[in-house]
């Protein structure tokens, strides 16, 4: 049987972009496959990445493979960022298929098959994610050193199991999200992003959305932004640039540490918390996104509920980049082509900050 159009489209567009040859002096290549699963009782973040960095004394950038798994249960956040040795990393040239030590990601027979096993935390998973929407590619957003490319499959259905310590979470038709990003840049350059997606609470709701804003570090100048709306399996409406108004309101106050020596905000990898001990963030309490053009309009409000931080050492200097992984709820209303648009659902946003 020939592959379905959706399977064919993902197979042809979502492959690894890592360079086969490393050029001396080239800006380092960064690439990651990101997955989120939002199920009752368990939110899951899985990220397989290949990050080049310049190492003193080496003529060309060196690539590091990492697997990041974060889980959020009623017991709080857990997870880690594992660096995988190069001899344990296999990126296959054909298809979408990569082994990162004990973890693997591949696209096979129309579905993403993900396995992950953390080295130092008792977290293990085996999932199959079936895409429900067509992918969208947004290439060539210019950063300081080169373009950043983004391919998103905003709605998938996940099944499988996740083990966290002694607990096993079986998943069946859990809402999920995927994107793939690649480009040439150094952490710490003059950019930041605000990105998010929302999936409906009701499975029968046809809508889902993704949002991205790329801007400078001070967030005073936009490099590009867009609000992307899907209905069923296809794109329904895209609002771009001047059609989108973004309004952050307030600051999210993380709950106080519940124990005498609790560190409050969960930070990963944990040793990096020594360089980013702050318990305050500049994550907004709510983010309003309003888009309108040619008679269509959409209004969204994202409300922050909880967050964890992924901390990345900057490439250029001794700064750090903090990726706030923010869980929340999103409500959307509007009208597209004369048809009312409504959705209420779970949502994840990322807000970058720097230290």
């Amino acid at each position: 049987m020939s592959p379905q159009p959706l399977e064919r489209l993902i197979s042809f567009s979502n492959h690894f972009r890592r360079p086969l040859l490393r050029e001396p002096g080239a800006t380092p290549h960064k690439e990651w496959f990101h997955f989120c699963v939002l199920s009752p009782g368990l939110d899951l973040f899985i990220n397989y990445s290949l990050m080049e960095a310049e190492i003193p004394g080496l003529p060309a950038p060196r690539e590091s493979a990492r697997v990041c798994v974060l889980v959020r249960t009623d017991a709080g956040w857990d997870g880690d960022v594992d660096t995988i040795a190069s001899h344990d990393t296999v990126i296959r040239r054909s298809g979408i298929d990569a082994t990162f030590g004990p973890s693997r990601m591949r696209f096979h027979e129309g579905a993403f098959e993900l396995t992950a096993k953390l080295c130092d935390r008792p977290i293990e998973l085996a999932l199959t994610l079936v895409p429900l929407t067509m992918p969208l590619m947004r290439p060539n957003t210019p950063l300081e050193a080169g373009p950043l490319h983004w391919l998103v499959v905003p709605r998938l259905s996940a099944r499988g199991t996740v083990r966290v310590g002694e607990r096993t979470f079986p998943l069946d038709e859990a809402p999920a999200y995927h994107d793939h990003n690649w480009g040439r840049f150094r952490w710490g350059q003059d950019f930041a992003w605000q990105w998010g997606f929302a999936l409906p609470t009701l499975p029968e709701s046809p809508y889902c959305l993704a949002f991205v804003r790329l801007c400078n570090r001070a967030r005073t100048s936009d490099l590009g932004h867009g609000l992307f709306l899907w209905k069923g399996g296809v794109q329904r409406r895209i609002f771009r640039e001047g059609e989108v108004q973004i309004t952050p309101r307030g600051w999210f106050a993380p709950p106080r540490p519940s124990t005498a020596h609790g560190t409050g905000i969960a930070k990963f990898p944990r040793p990096l918390a020594l360089l980013a001990p702050e318990q305050r963030t500049d994550v907004p309490r709510t983010l309003d996104i309003e888009a309108s053009a040619r008679g269509d309009f959409v209004r969204c409000r994202f409300e922050t509920e909880d967050l964890a931080q992924i901390i990345i050492p900057d490439d250029n200097d001794f700064g750090i980049t903090v990726i706030n992984e923010v869980r929340g709820r999103l409500v959307m209303e509007g009208e597209v082509a004369g048809e009312p648009v409504e959705m209420e659902g779970r949502s994840v946003f990322e807000f970058l900050s720097h230290g």
Binding site: I55, P56, T83, T263, P271, L275
Partner: protein, 144 residues
Amino acid sequence: MASGGGSFTGFLLRSMGLLRVEAPAAYALMCARLAPRELSTSVDGELCPLQFAAESVRVLAASVAPSVEVQTTRRTILDLVDARLTLADAVWDERLLLRGGPADLIAFHDGFTAWLHGAVRSPSFPDLLRDYRAGTPGPIHEQR
């Protein structure tokens, strides 16, 4: 230097050697911030005095006149690494004892921060930390 076997001295000396090779800018910054001070560390009673110069650090056979004394435990170090404890809480709760003049303590903080920035950028540090956590020996880079 004969120490090793997952000891703090072994961990510290390996870390300095790795930093010098894999994160030389951080190593240089650490030395610049701490020179010309003597730093005396004690972890569970295991002493390791270090003498910082502008571009290098060496181990002393015995502590002479430390500008900064640091006293803590292996448990506290691992709690810090695993984010179960912040540096501020460790000091506040007297699990990390620091002694020195204000300028010397600020220099220690700045030098330690440079060490941390190098540590998180050095590819070999995860293995070093794993060895320390497991108490297994590793090669020690001579610092004398």
